[in-house]
Symmetry: C2
């Protein structure tokens, strides 16, 4: 059901029945290593190219999610996924392997929540019993495509972020009444916001106004206060973007405590890892949410969270053509109900 102009309420509370999270070597040394289902010791993952390794990450995450609830892929109606690679090559190839009817999505690093919002809407209205919803990124594949091959050893400024190597997938299912399982309760679809930033090494700063715009729209549409949520977590704003977003929100009049406001890009790595302003990539919010944050919810640490995945819709072409960076953010609310039994 539409509530307000750009938000949906999911009255039937679709369940995130299982998740699968895979990662690479940098994530294995990170802050949340224990919350991944699989971690790889190198970036190749037994494949000949980084893009094929990227595909493996997504396939492994999907298989991990399915195996936890003993679900066969033939029982899943739809796969909704995307990544940062041109023409979504890794997701397309994973859809070929999985043989699940497939909808490709592109919202850069906001893809994780674009996918979860749409999957939740479809399951909420009995358009599917089960949907695999996810997003992924691979550091070396993304660096090669958007910037320079890592082998060049290019220097980066402190505003730059480190693309996560990882895939995060949710198996979104009809609510069967099981207690303690996270459910999606609402979503807000963002519009493109572009404040004129042109520096591809400061994407957190570029994305901050889009994140704030979607968060403000969410509270306006739903007519609730930020205190409704235990946690409001952005996708991959990093140190600079997260601070800017928080200031925009406070200036808008929203009452948000700073300890209630986190960023997946600041959670995933250790302080001593050389990730400059933090983590990023379509796999950042997907792995942190479907690993760490849902584990925290199952432990009872959070019972209501709002996940706001942010995307910088730039390309090497927009940069070459002197365009500024169009940005977007999509939000999904996740709640646990009935407590742990």
């Amino acid at each position: 059901m539409l509530q307000g102009h750009q938000s949906w309420i999911f009255a039937n509370r679709p369940m995130i029945k299982a998740t699968g999270v895979s990662g690479g070597p940098f994530e294995a040394n990170g802050n949340l290593a224990n919350e991944f289902d699989l971690l790889h010791e190198d970036l190749w993952m037994g494949e000949e190219t980084y893009e094929k390794a990227h595909r493996v990450l997504l396939e492994e995450a999907m298989h991990a999610a399915l195996s936890k609830v003993d679900c066969q892929k033939e029982e899943v109606q739809f796969m909704m996924a995307g990544d940062l690679i041109n023409q979504l090559t890794p997701s397309n190839l994973a859809a070929r392997t999985m043989q699940i009817p497939f909808m490709g999505l592109y919202g850069a690093c906001s893809t994780s929540m674009e996918s979860l919002a749409l999957a939740s809407f479809i399951v909420n209205y009995q358009g599917a019993k089960r949907i695999l919803s996810g997003a992924s990124s691979h550091n070396a594949a993304v660096e090669k495509q958007f910037r320079y091959p890592t082998e060049y050893g290019g220097q980066k400024p402190p505003t730059a972020q480190w693309t996560v190597t990882g895939a995060g997938v949710a198996l979104v299912c009809e609510n069967d009444g099981t207690k303690g399982v996270p459910v999606t309760t609402s979503a807000t679809i963002g519009k493109v916001v572009d404040m004129g930033i042109t520096d591809p090494f400061n994407m957190g700063g570029a994305m901050a106004p889009a994140a704030a715009d979607t968060i403000i729209a969410h509270f306006r549409d739903r007519q609730i206060e930020p205190s409704y949520y235990d946690l409001i977590v952005t996708g991959d704003l990093g140190r600079i973007g997260q601070k800017a977003t928080y200031e925009l929100l406070i200036n808008s009049g929203l009452k948000i405590n700073s300890n209630q406001f986190k960023d997946c890009g600041l959670l995933i790595y250790k302080d001593n890892q050389p990730v400059q302003s933090g983590g990023s990539g379509a796999g950042c919010s997907a792995t942190v949410l479907y690993g760490h944050l849902l584990n925290q919810m199952k432990k009872g640490i959070y019972s209501k969270i709002l996940v706001v995945a942010t995307g910088a819709l730039l390309s090497p072409l927009t940069f070459q053509q002197d365009e500024s960076i169009p940005c977007i953010a999509h939000a999904v609310a996740i709640e646990t109900e009935g407590g742990m039994e």
Copy 2:
């Protein structure tokens, strides 16, 4: 509502209340020139790059659709669109201009029906009152990215297809009971099919098995016969792919008359235009459907059609890495009801 494994029924019959269709010079000399709202005399459209011209096509098509029913863009909840350019650059930039909450989709040339299927599902369940759903392509932008700049004058074999320069957009709205307006009644989401074809100059042949797979799934899920439809029209299979698909369907046991089975890629250009096997591109099915075919429906020539948009999910990277071409097709049924009054 899910019917069968991968199809939806739209019981509330969302309306395609208005459409907008823009095109380029090749389309202006084509078979369906009279069915475009706007046609450009050159490929630049007053812009400095082909990608920015591509963005203009999509913006114009959206404005054309809105103006026909005196609708303001602020009254539209969501824009769902995609194109063939890396990171959906033209669609992202158009979403920035339009300031409508945006969901980016990628299914190569199947994007038009991926978008219409999702928009119809959302409107059917009151997730929006109005959605702008569309797809676009630009010949020179696509050639530059996927093959060679046209200025090279590269030769192509007769199996190759010509990318349409054009955008087609539907304003999908809640059914208000108006008679004679086309409505969407069902959709089938396809899975990736890859029969091992590696030749990017024979995409119609590569896509044929995916088209047949989705059509067979549609009739299996909906439990109806092909005679239910006046027309089954594929997106951009071209001469070779359309013939192959027809044979696959007949061999599967479906009873389809050859005059009931057409292809947008064979409708859009004149026989004397040098388009080899026919038209293609994300704008092909979008312009032919939202211009020509819906006009035919309004004239009463067809009252029930099934549109099957086909996508070749290849990229320059998959080709370089010796991958075969993963293909997909999505189908949407469109019907007019109550006749013309």
